[in-house]
């Protein structure tokens, strides 16, 4: 056991680092990379596109993609190494992740050759940004309960409905949308998948304000939006299969920690906040709690080493790769709650005068979202139980029933 690169990996890492050093500025110690949170900012988008183009020109964009679409056919471990290295530099937020991480791979599996050639290269270069139009107000965890309709009209389809939780809708050229095309079919059998031009008439985008005051997501309303049939991915009414491909890739795309305070920040707080005239860190009760947090946080970190090891050995990582968000999000919330306890009465300040500039207050207000976005804790437990442990699926009362007859609320 060791934590070293193989000679091939080390060579690849050196190559990546050399290019990054020549083309970007390293982060200062303790500096966080720029996050995606926040409102639409054309300048940020422009900078992100510039950086993406630079990478693409040098062959460092979407490195695992096949060469024919602009990638370099890199291995999964090389992708890990590349992102480790890139994370050490000041780079704009990655606004391409949804397209490149989830939608591109879906097009590669289910798209026609023409679609691949049309959409993948500009996606890779960042010339065209993509968003995902999946969830609806009444179809979150139960995504297949979606009600946005697409009705055939000659060579076109007409889309009506509402999507929600769409990141980057404001600056996206294309959206990937799942729609209901046959309400008489069983739930999963009447769904079709389209690429929609986000500048089409009839699309309205409204940012959603989150409880922490930020707006990372949008609602997107569709009124008689026209999509040509050539923008369809996969067969009519076979869109659920495509959506599953996208969702399988989501697990990988989201997973990570994504900024915010960590154990070392908690330790620093315990060292600086005074309890009874001494640093809180000297309190035996505080120490017990800190130790539990440490073991959990490290358990997660070492688990990611195990995943990387599998990739490095050319294996498919085991199910341990699915626990990241389920452990990490509540851990963040619990650490924040404990940090606020440490701060005493000052925990009520959402103010720069709060300890650490309200770092933990913001984490406490933001963490509930981590437990919901990209699969709620409950859905993740179901996924682990069913896919990893092979336990029986939930009993489905919506199977074998035409979608339009599935109950959507209490009977009046």
């Amino acid at each position: 056991m060791d934590f070293n690169d193989t000679p091939e990996e080390a060579a690849f890492r050196a190559e990546a680092r050399a290019w990054l050093e020549a083309n970007a500025e390293p982060l200062a110690p303790g500096e966080q990379p720029a996050g995606l949170e926040g409102r639409f900012d054309p300048d940020m988008v422009h900078k992100a596109q510039e950086w993406q183009r630079k990478k693409a020109d040098a062959g460092w964009a979407c490195i695992t993609w096949p060469k024919e679409y602009g990638g370099r056919g890199a291995t999964p471990i090389q992708a890990v190494i590349w992102s480790q290295e890139e994370a050490r530099f000041k780079t704009p937020p990655n606004i391409f992740a949804i397209g490149q991480g989830m939608l591109g791979p879906t097009i590669m599996v289910h798209g026609t050759e023409e679609q691949k050639r049309r959409y993948l290269p500009p996606m890779l270069r960042g010339d065209e940004i993509w968003c995902q139009l999946f969830s609806e107000p009444a179809a979150g965890s139960d995504l297949a309960g979606l009600r946005t309709t697409a009705v055939r009209d000659g060579d076109d389809w007409i889309i009506n409905g509402q999507k929600i939780w769409t990141t980057g809708a404001q600056y996206s050229k294309w959206g990937m949308i799942v729609t209901r095309t046959d309400p008489n079919a069983e739930k999963h059998r009447g769904i079709t998948y389209f690429i929609v031009d986000m500048q089409s008439p009839g699309i309205e985008i409204r940012p959603i304000k989150q409880m922490n005051g930020m707006s990372s997501f949008n609602e997107v309303f569709f009124t008689d939006v026209r999509v040509p049939d050539r923008n369809r991915i996969g067969d009519v009414n076979d869109g659920w299969r495509c959506a599953l491909t996208t969702l399988m890739n989501e697990r990988h795309a989201i997973g990570g920690g994504a900024g915010g305070p960590e154990f070392r920040d908690l330790l620093r707080l315990a060292r600086t906040v005074m309890w009874n005239g001494k640093p809180a860190l000297q309190d035996a009760g505080v120490r017990q709690r800190l130790a539990e947090f440490y073991v959990r946080a490290k358990g997660l970190q070492y688990t990611s080493y195990r995943v990387q090891t599998a990739l490095s050995r050319g294996q498919t990582p085991g199910p341990e790769s699915s626990i990241g968000k389920l452990v990490g999000a509540p851990l963040r919330q619990n650490m924040a709650a404990f940090a606020l306890d440490l701060e005493g009465a000052a925990a009520s300040l959402l103010d720069l005068r709060a300890p650490e500039g309200a770092l933990w207050q913001l984490a406490y207000l933001g963490s509930p979202g981590l437990r919901l976005a990209g699969g709620t804790d409950e859905i993740l437990r179901n996924i682990i139980a069913e896919r990893v442990l092979g336990l029986p699926p939930e009993i489905r009362v919506d199977k074998g029933v035409p979608f339009k007859d599935v109950p959507t609320g209490p009977r009046p």
């Binding site: 969830s135 107000p137 009444a138 979150g140 965890s141 139960d142 309960g145 929600i164 939780w165 959603i208 304000k209 989150q210 409880m211 005051g213 906040v273 005074m274 309890w275 009874n276 005239g277 809180a280 009760g285 505080v286 919330q333 709650a337 606020l340 306890d341 440490l342 701060e343 005493g344 009465a345 000052a346 925990a347 009520s348 300040l349 959402l350 103010d351 005068r353 709060a354 300890p355 207050q361 406490y364 207000l365 509930p368 979202g369 437990r371 919901l372 976005a373 709620t376 804790d377 409950e378 437990r381 939930e394 489905r396 009362v397 919506d398 599935v406 109950p407 959507t408 609320g409 209490p410």
Partner: protein, 371 residues
């Protein structure tokens, strides 16, 4: 055995609840939260008109002359609606402190305007981050003048006067300070719950008088906090209970996979566990109310127990409320974050739960040594 509110008190609860249902829907809380207002003045006025501010103030000081059980009933109801008013500061802290330790002259001066809502009072104790438990208070009184900085002070931006913990030599006391005095600088601070306000108060040789005429001593200060803790616990309980009711209702009406999400056993069991926590907390709160209203020697232990249970349970409730509402629960538009914020505000306002747990064991030790 008579360990419940009386029929009269239950009737009071019904009246308070229906009054607040009209006067204080959650939109009132949200409005204070979303605007730069410090509190809901019209609700404050309405509450004053109802006479609730003087619930436990004797009639000869302008109050209604009821007891703490009636006050506990009102506190729970105010907690249910997340009332965005300085009731807790002015009543549980300032008025109660005056009743416990004020001179007759002080009571006559302060209690009538407090009970009419013309004056707002508060207690200023904390001096920045950390546990104030046994840490020496740095604010001092010399030659009748007070100097120091208190931060955060609940409702310190709107209070007319504050009872400020301060040292005079070795003695700890509560100094009554007119917050409109020139020597007081106050600054509103951003609160994790903008529907409830916070300030920092800087005192530069401001003239004071001592509550009770001289430093009342740290035992009395702690006694005042213990009493307030019981009433705060009822507010917390009310908030936790309301969060539960809204969430239960939601899980019955929100359908996924063709059925109400309340039918999924993972949620069912967590709702059952949540209900259990509410009942245990309610019982601890009742015991606190009994001890408070009877001036029982058990008050210290009972207050710690109520405070710890209610703080835990409101935190649990506000977390579960968001989680069970799914993505909608994380939006600004949804009311869940009002509960999440209030839970944290109330957890901090008398010092965090670990401090009260520590204090609970200290009280148990003292009790055993005494017996």
């Amino acid at each position: 055995m008579n360990f419940d509110f009386s029929d009269d008190q239950k009737l009071l609860r019904e009246n308070v609840r229906s009054f607040l249902a009209k006067e204080a829907p959650l939109a009132v809380c949200r409005q204070v939260l979303e605007t730069a207002t410090a509190y809901a003045t019209s609700l404050w006025q309405a509450v004053a008109t109802q006479g609730w501010l003087g619930t436990a103030i004797p009639e000869n000081y302008g109050g209604a002359g009821f007891g703490r059980l009636e006050l506990a009933v009102i506190a729970e109801e105010l907690g249910r609606v997340l009332a965005p008013i300085p009731f807790s500061s002015s009543v549980y802290l300032a008025s109660e402190a005056l009743l416990v330790a004020g001179t007759d002259e002080q009571k006559r001066r302060y209690l009538p305007p407090l009970s009419r809502g013309e004056w707002i009072g508060t207690v200023a104790h904390f001096e920045g981050p950390g546990d104030p438990g046994n840490r020496p208070v740095k604010t001092v009184v010399r030659s009748g003048k007070l100097t120091g900085v208190k931060m955060p002070v609940t409702d310190g931006d709107v209070a007319d006067f504050a009872l400020v913990t301060a040292k005079s030599g070795r003695d700890l006391g509560l100094a009554i300070v007119d917050l409109h005095a020139r020597e007081v600088q106050r600054e509103r601070l951003d609160s994790i719950d903008p529907s409830r306000s916070l300030a920092s108060l800087r005192f530069e040789r401001v003239p004071i008088e001592w509550l009770g005429g001289r430093p009342c001593g740290s035992d009395t200060v702690q006694h005042i906090f213990n009493r307030a803790a019981v009433l705060y616990a009822f507010e917390q309980l009310g908030g936790a209970q309301r969060a539960f009711e809204i969430t239960r209702e939601y899980t019955l009406n929100r359908y996924a996979f063709g059925r109400p999400i309340a039918s999924f056993q993972a949620l069912k069991h967590r709702l059952a566990d949540w209900y259990v926590e509410l009942e245990l907390t309610r019982s601890n709160c009742y015991y606190g109310a009994w001890a408070l209203s009877n001036e029982a020697p058990e008050l210290a232990v009972a207050a710690c127990g109520a405070r710890v249970a209610a703080t835990n349970t409101f935190e649990l409730a506000s977390k579960e409320m968001i989680q069970m509402h799914g993505g909608m629960g994380f939006t600004w538009e949804h009311d869940a974050h009002l509960f999440y914020r209030r839970a944290r505000y109330l957890a901090a306002v008398l010092g965090p739960a670990p401090v009260w747990r520590e204090r609970l064991i200290t009280c148990l030790e003292r009790r055993e040594q005494a017996s």
